[in-house]
């Protein structure tokens, strides 16, 4: 792609100038940066919002970080985690050398010894047990080149599809929702829709803590346009609820009923967008009563069936406001207010959701249902109206979803099960026909169950900390403790964690600006950065580690020698995206921009996908062109998905609902942010949020310790009453960041049968004084 410098500059300027947060002249600010430091841009290391930062380096260390005023995402503002990025790299216990476990001790290895050992272990396992006996478990925080290298090594090299990532725990329901509805993954809208919206609907999403910068933009919109409303659908009163105009406190799993109730109301009151639905949508139903994937080797295949509008109408008819009240616990007048917002032809409505919807035993269905609400009401594809699936991790979109580093994925919306997709990839990778294995590999939980059962002989974990984040930890971790000699676990990380504690070989990684990289955020924005400093000791990028092992195993043809490894692999990957509506910008273009939203065609990014006039792939006529939905003739699918109960509900023995989640101050398992004094002191340890009435009944005071017990495990935690959030009566909430207080020893590993994503938000526990 050739793009003139003048044109490029114009694009960048237009992007930056799109809108401003009220009252701030963000651009004026970037000019006063300390000249004794070297400054360069990088996306924030943490969440899927993808804020732009400017990083100040002095004496080989990152000493300051400021929000990038030129980034259209955050316009100069960061959250507490982003501002504390410098100290994240500087923990005194950074891993510095490869270390091999010998009994209960570790022996320092040279990189040559370590890489030869990894290559030998993989080779040995391949020889004995074939491609099914090896695996890699990566991350939505892998850079794009890292995920791509792992993908190429596994699928084009070792012919193994056993590559999966922690995104299985956070985003696969969203992926399945997109693919089954629109035929292609990732949102059509953009963050700039915030400044055009009249109504925000948050589906089980505490944005104030998890997506703080977007929440700030929402509040700024509310201030600038006073009639703007926020609906907060939630199972507990959060910091987000404090700012909402309507808080709809619902029962767990009640979201299925609420969405169906809105669809029914739109149809029953003739408030749906007939023209839009007629031209751009079809109706489908699938299997029902689909189980919870708790069994080992669970299999499921949906059976989509097209239905008429009348048949669809009959399927949603049972969800009257009274029925929704029974299933979801929200008052009929509240449902009415929400439905009317969607039924108002003048209102612009943005829906946001993240883990509340995705970590759900009906996660794919819930994604389908939110799209159904937006498609029926026509609230899609115009500035200010869009369903927007938020992501948790910095590159869950850019790496896992776009590069396809999952057990069934291939780059750019391709699947190993599709012969045409396999052929395309084999050609681009220049490997013989039939190289790619057509059978999907093991997904995240099967990887760890397989490691516990001894079916998987070698597993490499990179950029993630599964022995804090997996649900039902005893089932998915303890087997590895027991059969340590039978399998070989390699862990690449930057700090010691509960996962490195179980590793047979620990490899020290470089982090963030200690390497070249690129992330892709939730609004299809690819953001690149250059290496700014060296990692501590002998720490090396995960990319270099992967490529060196692949070369030592004889896959050098897939990874030619180069001095610009990250750039070359990114450009190699980019070939898969060009011409099919997923066109990522070139590495050099990305170096010059705060970030560009794909599809990038002729140097222009695409803020709104599928919309003629915005997206060069969309046909000129009509309101929208779902051009990736080839199977359904460019029409999006409105799915009939019923309410089904959760697998484990509170009963006499375990009378409380347990929900888990993140906090503003810590990034996921806290292995980085807990090493920052300011963040640690702000949030020193996990706690158990309870309702005051429950505490009174049990005679518990704030600060007391309680023992939480589920059918799977038990921990003791400090009780928090009326602190950050307030659960409903009969509910408790515990964050998962604390490696000393592992709430995942209690959670249930029930999954969405379609996406295989576990539900961390619902299980039954009892509460006792401790």
């Amino acid at each position: 792609m050739i793009i003139s410098r003048r044109e490029f500059l114009r694009t960048v300027a237009a992007t930056a100038a799109t809108a401003s947060l009220a009252g701030h002249d963000w651009l004026a600010e970037a000019k006063e940066l300390d000249p004794s430091m070297t400054w360069a841009k990088a996306p924030c290391r943490f969440c899927g919002v993808g804020c732009g930062t400017l990083v100040g380096v002095r004496g080989g260390r990152v000493e300051a970080v400021t929000g990038d005023p030129a980034s259209s995402v955050n316009r100069g503002l960061l959250c507490a985690k982003g501002y504390h990025l410098p100290a994240v790299l500087a923990g005194a216990d950074r891993l510095r050398f490869p270390m091999l476990r010998e009994g209960d001790n570790y022996r320092r290895l040279s990189w040559d010894e370590a890489l030869d050992l990894v290559a030998a272990k993989y080779k040995e396992a391949l020889g004995k047990g074939g491609p099914e006996s090896v695996a890699i478990f990566g991350s939505g925080q892998w850079t794009i080149p890292e995920g791509y290298a792992a993908q190429k090594w596994f699928k084009a090299g070792m012919r193994s599809n056993n590559i999966d990532s922690n995104a299985r725990l956070c985003m696969t329901s969203a992926v399945q929702g997109f693919v089954t509805t629109f035929g292609s993954d990732e949102p059509m809208g953009c963050y700039d829709d915030i400044e055009h919206a009249d109504v925000f609907v948050l589906w089980g999403n505490n944005m104030a803590e998890m997506h703080p910068i977007l929440f700030s933009r929402m509040l700024a919109r509310k201030k600038a346009a006073p009639g703007t409303r926020i609906f907060d659908l939630t199972t507990r009163r959060t910091q987000t609820s404090q700012y909402a105009d309507a808080v709809l406190l619902m029962k767990p799993q009640g979201d299925l009923a609420i969405a169906n109730g809105i669809c029914r109301w739109l149809l029953a009151n003739d408030k749906f967008d007939k023209e839009f639905v007629g031209e751009h949508c079809i109706f489908q139903k699938g299997k029902t009563d689909i189980g919870y994937a708790l069994e080992d080797k669970f299999k499921f295949q949906d059976a989509p069936e097209e239905i008429t509008l009348d048949a669809y109408r009959a399927l949603v008819e049972p969800y009257t406001p009274e029925k929704v009240q029974e299933l979801a616990g929200i008052a009929p007048e509240d449902l009415l207010k929400l439905a009317e917002a969607f039924g108002d032809p003048k209102a612009h409505v943005v829906s946001y959701w993240c883990m509340g919807v995705n970590q759900h035993t009906r996660g794919t269905w819930m994604n389908n249902l939110i799209y159904a609400v937006h498609l029926l009401s026509g609230k899609i594809g115009v500035p200010g109206s869009t369903p927007f699936s938020l992501t948790g991790q910095s590159s869950a979109c850019g790496t896992v979803r776009e590069v396809g580093t999952s057990s069934e994925g291939l780059p750019a919306d391709r699947r190993v099960t599709d012969p045409e997709h396999r052929a395309q990839c084999e050609k681009l990778w220049n490997v013989p026909e039939g190289t790619i294995n057509p059978k999907p590999g093991t997904h995240a939980l099967e990887v760890f169950r397989g490691l516990c059962h001894g079916e998987l002989k070698v597993v490499w974990v990179q950029v993630t900390n599964p022995f804090v984040t997996l649900p039902n930890m005893h089932r998915n971790r303890d087997g590895k403790k027991a059969c340590r000699d039978d399998s070989f676990l390699i862990v690449s990380d930057i700090y010691p964690t509960p996962t490195t504690a179980l590793a047979d070989l620990i490899l020290p990684s470089a982090c963030w600006v200690e390497k070249d990289g690129a992330f892709g955020n939730a609004e299809r924005r690819t953001q690149q950065w250059d290496k700014m400093i060296d990692g501590p000791g002998e720490a090396k990028s995960d990319l270099w580690q992967l490529v060196e092992v692949a070369r030592r195993m004889g896959y050098g043809a897939l990874f030619p020698e180069t001095k610009t490894l990250a750039k070359d692999l990114f450009e190699d990957y980019r070939r898969f995206t060009v011409g099919i509506g997923k066109d990522v910008a070139s590495w050099e273009d990305l170096r010059m921009a705060p970030g560009l939203q794909w599809p990038v065609v002729d140097g222009k990014e695409t803020p709104r996908r599928y919309v003629p006039g915005h997206d060069p792939y969309a046909k000129k006529e009509g309101r929208i062109d779902f051009y990736k939905a080839k199977k359904t003739n460019h029409k999006a699918v409105i799915w009939a998905r019923p309410y089904e109960p959760p697998p484990e509900v509170p009963d006499k023995d375990y009378p409380f609902w347990l929900s888990t989640g993140r906090v503003l101050e810590h990034w996921h398992t806290g292995s980085m942010t807990r090493r920052v004094p300011e963040l640690h002191r702000a949030m020193p340890s996990a706690y158990c949020e309870m309702n005051q009435e429950d505490a009174d009944e049990l005679g518990i005071y704030a600060g007391d310790n309680v023992k939480l017990t589920s059918r799977r495990g038990s921990i003791v935690l400090r009780v928090a009453l009326n602190e950050k959030s307030v659960p409903q009566k009969g509910h408790v909430f515990v964050p998962f960041f604390d490696e000393n207080l592992l709430i995942n020893e209690l959670t249930l590993d029930a999954m969405c049968p379609i996406s295989k994503q576990p539900d961390f938000k619902k299980c039954a526990v009892k509460v006792e004084t401790a």
Binding site: A17, L21, E32, L33, D34, W39, R718
Partner: protein
């Protein structure tokens, strides 16, 4: 924030302010052990090393109580102002990081914080960006103590106390990000004398006081960005 809490905080702020002159050094006792008690005792700034000379109060530290801020340096001459040449890093990870909150927080909304940190001078540092509404997104209370693991992070600080020549106006030593509004930190009775402007009536500060540093980062140096409207 309940009226009672507001009153308690105000009362505490006043007492702390009166006590301030008794301190010659920042109090060094540790913050309260968690869970935090209802009252908010003064806590030490989390900076690893104590400032060699009293830290100026003009940093936008959102404290209800100015406890960590000791008395201003005694009678600085107008041309020298020694207090401005000490590192500005109390209560922050590094210059440019948002200051942490040195008191207990029981309310979440910006209006609650602005009761003390808004336009009106009540003794607490005033926010230079009061239009932003979610204070706790960047400014963190510190109920915990100690460290999870040791850190080796110890940044150096911005060069400050700069002027072009001995009669020139002071240069602005810090980025203006989140500090576009000068007066909350540089005017008012309660502001450290070292940083208090002698001419608050002239509202176009940057007409004379220019940023000490001007530089675009890395590869985008040439990018011309149109101003936001």
């Amino acid at each position: 924030m309940t009226t009672r809490t507001v009153l308690a905080t105000l009362a505490f702020a006043v007492v702390a302010f009166l006590l301030r002159s008794a301190y010659t050094d920042p109090p060094v006792e540790n913050p309260p052990a968690e869970p935090p008690p209802a009252a908010a005792p003064p806590i030490a700034p989390p900076a690893a090393e104590p400032a060699p000379v009293p830290a100026p109060a003009a940093e936008p530290v959102p404290a209800a109580a100015p406890a960590p801020i000791p008395a201003a340096a005694p009678a600085p001459g107008p041309a020298v102002r020694p207090a401005t040449v000490v590192p500005l890093r109390p209560n922050r990870s590094y210059d440019g990081a948002p200051p942490v909150i040195p008191h207990t927080v029981t309310a979440l909304a910006a209006e609650d914080c602005l009761e003390c940190h808004g336009d009106k001078e009540v003794g607490a540092p005033r926010s230079p960006h009061a239009d932003l509404q979610r204070c706790l997104q960047c400014h963190l209370p510190q109920p915990g103590t100690g460290q999870f693991k040791e850190t080796s992070f110890a940044p150096s600080t911005y060069p400050i106390g700069l002027r072009g020549h001995s009669y020139g106006p002071w240069l602005i030593p810090h980025p203006l990000t989140m500090r576009e509004n000068c007066l909350p930190c540089h005017s008012g009775e309660k502001t450290s004398e070292a940083l208090r402007t002698t001419h608050p009536e002239r509202t176009r500060c940057v007409q004379c006081h220019v940023p000490a540093n001007e530089r675009w980062p890395g590869p985008r140096r040439d990018v011309q960005l149109s101003p936001l409207k």
